[in-house]
Symmetry: C2
Subunit: 211 residues, 2 copies
């Protein structure tokens, strides 16, 4: 498998974690989002959106969008499982993941912050306030959910899809200097997960294209 990504993309980071947890081999193909490399013709042929991540799985098939890639990995490589038993438990895990994937991350990625600068003349301080407000709103709710459902990890006693989303989002929050002290359960779950080798190896600084 070939993972098209970028070292600091939070969505690619999620997929690296899942691939590592499932002990799958993959080659990385890096696209520097800062120079717009993800919009070259060869990559657009694989992914018409021109975004990372995208996972080539052989036979000319490419899967895009990290939520879809993670569900596909779970279906094809169910060991270890990242979704729990029980439809309602799975719904809770997917909801906690979507809280990050739909309500925090999309507002704070590079193309959106670039648009805030271009469209509204946002300076660095304004961009930081923008990112911080969405992280704080989302993390406040997620703190409640982790306190309710976490038992060492963000949901239950083993890593789940939630951790694949949480660890990259905390990495981003730290880059944006967000105060995490109001979220002790969230921070504890994140610390627990990111100490695991699968998470460590997925860290942006450990990727071949890192600055």
């Amino acid at each position: 498998m070939i993972l098209h990504g970028y070292w600091r993309s939070g969505a690619a980071y999620r997929v690296r974690i899942a691939l590592n947890l499932k002990r799958l081999d993959y080659i990385q193909s890096a696209h520097d989002l800062r120079s717009g490399a993800q919009r070259d013709a060869a990559f657009l042929a694989l992914n018409p959106q021109g975004l990372v991540p995208a996972l080539e799985i052989g036979d000319g098939t490419t899967i895009t969008q990290s939520p879809a890639i993670l569900e596909w990995l779970e279906e094809r490589y169910p060991d270890p499982r990242l979704l729990p038993d029980g439809a309602e438990a799975r719904a809770t895990v997917r909801a906690m993941a979507a809280l990050i994937g739909c309500d925090i991350h999309p507002l704070n990625n590079l193309r959106v912050l670039n648009a805030l600068r271009a469209d509204f003349g946002a300076d660095s301080a304004a961009v930081l306030r923008w990112t911080a407000q969405w992280i704080a709103q989302g993390f406040a709710a997620l703190e409640t959910l982790i306190a309710r459902h976490g038992e060492g990890f963000a949901f239950g006693t083993t890593p789940t899809l939630v951790d694949c989303y949480l660890v990259p989002q905390v990495y981003s929050a730290e880059r944006f200097s967000v105060d995490l002290t109001p979220y002790p359960h969230l921070v504890a779950a994140c610390e627990r997960a990111r100490a695991l080798p699968a998470f460590e190896a997925a860290h942006p600084s450990r990727q071949p294209d890192a600055d």
Copy 2:
């Protein structure tokens, strides 16, 4: 089941479509997002995020986040199926849904547009330009994918999760006066889907709390 929603919420609209396609009975509980009714204490106890939709399914269990609700409905009520056979086909459907759910909708919902006005003094024209750019970027890629995978509907020959996301997003695009002529496959798929009774009954204007 009790669906907590708001007539013009695109994410609640997705869930109404799926409930109708699966011929499930539900009661609606409306929260007027314009007045902040979704942040009252009773609703926060059900959903710490204070967002719609949320689906009460009995026994004190509430499922939040439309992607999680839709997957839960698919698991519990698989007839008719909204995900196709084959892991790769399911990944394509989920990716097309996530393109809307992660890369278009989150940038254009009411709380974000309110923040653009509050944080950057965006006027109505600037807000329209902001929404239009994300819809146009996403729809351009989705047009390619629907041309590739659609056969009457956005993916294949029957309604899928993609249609649950597409029809509400087109409704939103029309409200924001986005020119849809560059996306003929997308528009044709949307027209086909929204002519079905399940989609018609889910339309915002048909909901009890509509203006």
